[in-house]
Every structure is written in structure tokens, then in C-alpha cells.
């Protein structure tokens, strides 16, 4: 069967993502600003072509390209790249690409191995607007889990590096304390106490300095602050060996934020919308189908993650390991479709 234009484009996108991955690897090693920019640009061009490929396939098949595993994997990679480009635009953290790009390439490789023929005739059960809602939200949720996974790997690498160089997170956080802190003799008080601002002082300067140290202003303003380090707009550093990686605190927060975005999307899209659709198509909200069981286990896991974090205060390394394990379950659930049957066997 001759390759359709969208599949030709898919291969172009695949090679561009692979090239971008190589650029990001060089960037991670050399921290060269131009290499970082090139990596992002190549990824961006790949993303544009990927968008065209998906749209073309949509037009060719006459239905949203979410009807089989190849289309789902391709869409997942598209969402992951979109998430990275958003982070790059919002936070100027080019280094995140070093960790997102290999995962994107891995997902695209998965997609490349799957049958790519266009399903001209969508089977009757899939002819529903719920296909849109269910699949796209599930893919978005899993895309967010993918970002949490990549950021968690970064967290563990940075933490390992800090251990090797003898710098602790406590010290890193200590550098973020405000100027002119007033010690307060309260048992169990947070270190640092209250920031004192005297009305006769020119506090703006001290706060400018403070915000620069915290390193969050770049994040909020797209890296336009002065002294923002290298030209690639990376983290200005937190006074430790941070180098090109963002601070542990920021990585931990992005990890949590990605899960906090992915969890409701996955819950509503994969579980709730899927259940409603199943009720409309098959007569029962839940039928313990292999894919449903996989989704339920993913949900159980990320529910446990959130409880551990919010109730037990699991953050940092523990949360990073949980995110990595969670995404492993997502991948297992995805690949499980290749061997297991059930109501989702056609995907």
C-alpha cells in the first residue's frame, strides 16, 4: 500500500525530532546557547509539520486521528512537544527539552512501529463525539504525566549532582531567604522569620535583589530580568552549582503542577468521559475491560501520589520517583493493548 502524504510527513517529523534530540543532548553537555536555540527551532519546525501531518490525516480519513494506537501515540508526542514549547515560552527553560525530546522520540518510535494505514471506515462504536472528548483529554492528561516524568528525571540528576559537589538543598534554599530577616523566638518557626521593611528605607532595591536570587521572576516574566544568566534565558542559578538545570524547588513544583494538570484531565477524559460513552454504546458504565483496568490503575497511582504529597508531605525525591513510576504504568497500559483484547482491542 503506497504511503499517504501524512505518513511521509510523519517520517519527516520523526527525523526532525530525532535531530532535535541530538541538538538537545549537545546542549546538555556544552550548554551552548546557540545549540539550545537550534534544538528548540528544529523541534518547533517538527511540531509545525506534525500539526500539518495530523490535520492532513484528519482530512484524508474524514474523522479525528484518534482511532488507533498509531494515531494515539502520534497525538501523545504532539501534546508533549506542545507542553515543552509552552514551558520554553513561559519559563525559558531550554534544558527541559533535553529531557522531553528523548521521551518524544521514544513515543514517536513506538508510533513508527505500529500499523499506520488510515482507517477509512470508522467502526460504528467510534462514530461519536465522545471519541473527541475521551481520547483527546486522556492524551492531554498522559502528556502532562510525561512532562512530570521528564522533570522528575531532571530533579534526580540535579540532586545527584548536588550531592556529589557537597551542596545540599538546604543550602540552596538558604540562599533564597529574604534580606533583613528578623529572627523570631517561636518554637518550630519557619527558618528565616519575617522580612522587615522599614518605611524609610528604599525597599525596592532589596526586593529586586531578593527576587533575582529566588530566580522566580524569570519564570514569571519570560526571562527578561537583568542578569538572567546566559542568553538562552535559562535559570539564572540559585547560587549553587545549579548550572543549566533549574533549581530543585522549581523542578519539584513543575513536577507537582504537571501532575495537578494531568490528573483532572485524565480523570475526566479517560475515566468519566469513557464511562459515559461506554454507557451510550455498550450499555454499561464500566465493564472491567483491560484498557479500563489499566486506566483505573493509573488513576489509583496518581491519586496515591497526590495523597502522599498533600497529606504526608512527600515532595522532592520521593515525588520524583513516584512520577517516574506513574509514567511507567502509563506506558505499560498503552502497550498492553498490543496483547490484550477487550472492548478497546480495535485501538
Amino acid at each position: 500500500m503506497p504511503e499517504t502524504f501524512d505518513i511521509k510527513l510523519f517520517w519527516w517529523v520523526y527525523w526532525l525530532y530525532l535531530a532535535s534530540f541530538l541538538f538537545f543532548t549537545v546542549f546538555g553537555a556544552t550548554r551552548g546557547v546557540r545549540v539550545g536555540r537550534a534544538a528548540t527551532w528544529v523541534l518547533g519546525v517538527g511540531f509545525v509539520l506534525h500539526t500539518v501531518a495530523l490535520s492532513w490525516r484528519w482530512w484524508l480519513s474524514g474523522h479525528v486521528p484518534m482511532a488507533n494506537m498509531y494515531e494515539y501515540a502520534s497525538l501523545l508526542a504532539w501534546f508533549a512537544v506542545l507542553s515543552y514549547l509552552y514551558i520554553e515560552w513561559r519559563y525559558r527553560k531550554t534544558i527541559v527539552g533535553t529531557f522531553v525530546a528523548p521521551v518524544v522520540v521514544a513515543v514517536m518510535t513506538c508510533a513508527s512501529l505500529l500499523p499506520k494505514e488510515i482507517t477509512q471506515q470508522l467502526m460504528p462504536a467510534l462514530q461519536s463525539y465522545w471519541l473527541w472528548i475521551h481520547v483527546s483529554m486522556a492524551a492531554l492528561g498522559e502528556g502532562a504525566f510525561l512532562v512530570a516524568f521528564a522533570v522528575s528525571v531532571m530533579y534526580l540528576i540535579r540532586e545527584l549532582r548536588e550531592k556529589r559537589t557537597g551542596l545540599s538543598e538546604v543550602r540552596a534554599h538558604a540562599s533564597m531567604r529574604r534580606p533583613a530577616r528578623e529572627a523570631v523566638a517561636v518554637p518550630g518557626a519557619a527558618p528565616g522569620g519575617v522580612t522587615v521593611l522599614d518605611v524609610d528605607d528604599d525597599v525596592d532595591e532589596s526586593i529586586e535583589q531578593l527576587m533575582h536570587e529566588v530566580g522566580t521572576r524569570d519564570a514569571k516574566r519570560g526571562g527578561k530580568s537583568r542578569g538572567s544568566g546566559n542568553g538562552a534565558g535559562n535559570d539564572p542559578g540559585d547560587g549553587t552549582d545549579g548550572g543549566v538545570l533549574p533549581s530543585l524547588r522549581l523542578l519539584d513544583e513543575i513536577n507537582y503542577r504537571a501532575v495537578a494538570i494531568g490528573y483532572p484531565l485524565f480523570t475526566i477524559g479517560a475515566l468519566f468521559a469513557g464511562a459515559v460513552w461506554a454507557y451510550e454504546a455498550w450499555g454499561s458504565f464500566w465493564s472491567w475491560d483491560p484498557k479500563e483496568v489499566g486506566a483505573l490503575i493509573i488513576w489509583f497511582f496518581y491519586t496515591a501520589y497526590l495523597h502522599a504529597r498533600l497529606q504526608r508531605g512527600w515532595s522532592g525525591r520521593r515525588a520524583a520517583w513516584l512520577s517516574i513510576a506513574g509514567f511507567a504504568i502509563v506506558i505499560l497500559s498503552f502497550l498492553g493493548n498490543l496483547w490484550l483484547g477487550g472492548n478497546h482491542a480495535y485501538t
Partner: protein, 533 residues
Amino acid sequence: MQAHDKRPRGSTKPSDASGRRSFRFGIPEILFSMKFAIWIAVILAVTSIAGVLVQEFYPVRNEHQAHQLSELLPAPLYGLFMALQMYDPFRAVWFRVLLGLLALSLLLCSMRNFRPNFTQAFRVRPLRDPRLFAHLPDSYRLNRVSADLFDTVVRGLRRRLFFGTVEDSAEQKVAAFHRGGIARAGPVLLHVGILVLVVGGLFSSLVGKRGMLIGSPGEILALGDSPYQLRIDRFDIDTNEMGQVKQYRSLVTVLDGDREVLQREIEVNKPLRFAGFNLYQSTYEADPSRAASMLIRVRPRLPQAEDPGHGNPGHVHTEDQPHTTAGLGEPIGVIDADMQGTFDVPGNPGFTFRARRFFAHLKITEQGPVNASRDMVNPAVELVVLQDGEPFAVQWAFGRFPAHAREELPFVLELVDARPVMATGLEMNTNPGAPLIWFGLILSTVALVLCFLIQHHTIYLIAQPTPKGWTLWLAGRATRERIAFSSAFERFAREVHRTAKRLKEAERTSESPATAAGQIENHAARDAETANR
């Protein structure tokens, strides 16, 4: 070991002095704990995976498969397998008990957290001691500020829909404001929503009924144990130009005795709900006993009939149907026949025929001819030949073995092709837990929005007079995204400080502080808005 060491992790109520495990509502504390819920979830996850794998690789749907498995497994293990209903664990009692325990855990967790969560959602308490501000991650103290600064900040916060309380006494002024407090109710509502979902699902699985209705057009089927019946009026399969199925649908009529109650078309994704029953277009299959169309070829029988049956594997020996393998001439016509009509035999005036019985997969048993399967393996049709409208003879026509003839007939009817009638497969069920499940889905969705899209920000203020002016303490707290909140709160503090300077300056130059106050209101409002975002 000390008494409190025995307390289960996650419990909020300590054991008593004697070391006994504490109870709440007469229920052991362990049942309230997160650890209990996680263990139930882990067991559910593991057993679900086991159930899926067993159903996939070692299905036990009939006696043959059960026998195969009994030979594969040691006897005790096989006994345990069957006792635990591992061939379909999701409908086993122990699995439902596990789901019930999960529901219990959710219920107890919701009971424990309901009041504190809702209290925090709608009420905020001020901090009256400035030393407590040191506990908060974002706290500032402004010295020697104007007496108006406190009220100005409070007005600014109120204008931006921050809600809270202000206490004014001779010693100090205190205030606490918050926005997005409803987010605090999200977790408990989510627990309740999931609880309702589990209860609804359990209720449906215990009380609900399931069944499959398979029928061809014209058939009337019983609708469960209700007084209603379902008549299949039509069943259509739409295909595209490549023969792929596009859609299939059934036109059905609900009957109450002889009375037609309603007529409706059922499609995939478009079920019919009637009198508590849900009817879904689930599948379709061939009706092996009815032909939608048949091609019957007519040949003249030549005079020299041979000895019947010898060497012909397609012979059917029945008592009342002697037959022969005829010497045949060239075909004189092909008739597109069906099971309803009566058709003329070309070249044989006065002769007609009609189909009496059809078999897609004919097999002769002691009870007579039956269908061995639904597939078109050995199609055959029993034809009644009429002369001048009166029954004259009966002839069988076989798809795979043509050229069977009756001696008394001057022609042979051959079955060239046949297409069976397609029977619709409608899944019928009752889902008494559906209203609960719908409610649980809606509640959980709302709760997820509250939990993850709305943030709860709290701002505390204390102002105390000192000999050199007033001292203002500012502190903020966010439930999530604390780095972003810290950044925004710092900008807020900077604006407050800037305005404090303006107010002070205004006091020094004896100007009206109104202009500066207006500015602080605007700045405070804007920054509070930023912080909230």
C-alpha cells in the same frame, strides 16, 4: 513502645493513655486512615490485573475450557481458582466486598473531613499574634507606617472580592482575608463523588439485569420479565463501497399485548430506554434458519435417470423423500427467490414452488435436519413444488451438492446461492444505579475543578501602634503553586511599602492622604489579583 507509637499512621485522633486503639463513631481509627484506603486500592489493582490476564489467556467460558485448565493446574490450585471465581473475578463476592471496603473508606474519610473542610472554605480566622507570622512562608513587617495603611489595604482587598474579617481593638487591628476558599471543599466533594460512583456501580452490579436479545425481522421477543414485548420490524446493515460496515440499526416496536406502544430505531451509540430497560445495538449475526434471498436454478431432467445416490456424498436418505441424481439438461432459468413468495418454474407451466425450510449449516441428526452452526457451511433449502396450486412434491436443494431431483418432477431445482437473514443482537439491561452514577460523575467533575483549577489564597494583617508610628505585619499563604504565589506576594508587599511611604510623606507635608490611599487600593487590588492568578 509509647502509646502514641501504636497509633495508626494517618489517624488524627490519638490513642488514649492506656494505649488502646482509639475509635470514632464507634469505628476503629484504622478504617479512617489513608493507609487502609491505599491497601484496598492496591489489592483491587492487583486482583484486577490478575482477572484481566486470566480472562485473556486462560478463559473459562465453557466446560471444555474448564477441563483444559483443570489438567493444567494442580488440583488444589484449580479448586482455589474455581472457589475464588478467578475466571470472572469482577463478579465474585470477594471482589464486591473489596469495592464495598473502598466505599467504606471513602465514606469515613468524607465524614472526618467534611466539617473542617467546609469550615475552611467559608471562614477565615485572623492571626492575633505577630509571632505566628514567622510560621508562614511569605511574611513581611513594615515599621513606622501611617495609621491609615491598614484600612487602605483592607479596602483594596475587599474591592477585589477577598472576603474576611477585621477586628479592631485598642491594642491592635487584625484582619484575615481569603479568596477561592471554595477550593477547600473540593477534596471532600471528590471523595463523596467517588463514593457515590462506587455505590451506584455496586448497586447496578448486584440488582441490575443483563441479557441479549437476538431476533430477525418479524420476530417478537420478550422484554425481560416485563409485560412488554419487542417486535423486530427491520434490521439494516449499511456498508461502504468497499463492503466495510458503516452502521447497523434496528427498527423495533414495543408491544403491550397487541397494542403498539412505540416504534423506535436503535443504532450503535443511540440506545432505546424504555420502562427501566436499556436496549443497545450491540451486534448482529446470521439467522441460520432463514434466507433473505436465494438463487434457484432450474434444469430439465433428462429421461435416463441413473441409480440414485451411489457415490454421491450429498445424498440425503429420508423415508419420505426418495430421490435420484438426474441426468440434466442445460439451465432454463434462474429465479431470485425468498422465503415468503411462490415462484413459477420456467419452462414448466402450471408448476410453482415455495421455500419451506432453510438451513445454513445442514446436519442430519436423529431428530431430523438441524443447523450445526450459524455459518453458511452447508446451505440447503426444502422446497415445496406445487402443480396448479396444489402441493405436488417436496424437493431438497443443496448448495454444495446440486442435481438432486425427484423422479416425479420433470425438472430439478438447484440452490446456486443463498444469503441468510441477518438477526439483530440487542443488549438489554437494567441499570438501577445509573442515577447515582450520573450524580457521582457530575459531583466528581465539579470537585476536580474546585480542587485543581481554583486556588485558595489567604492574606493576614496585623497593625499595632508604637511610639514611632504603626507597625504593619503582612502574611500570605497559598494552598498550591507556592513559588508563583511568593513572587506575586512580594510584589504586593512592595506596593504596600511604596504606598506606606506615600502616606507617610503625605502626613509629613500635611496633605490629605486620600490620593495615596486611592493608589494603594488600586495597587493592592491589582497585586492581589495577580497573586490569585
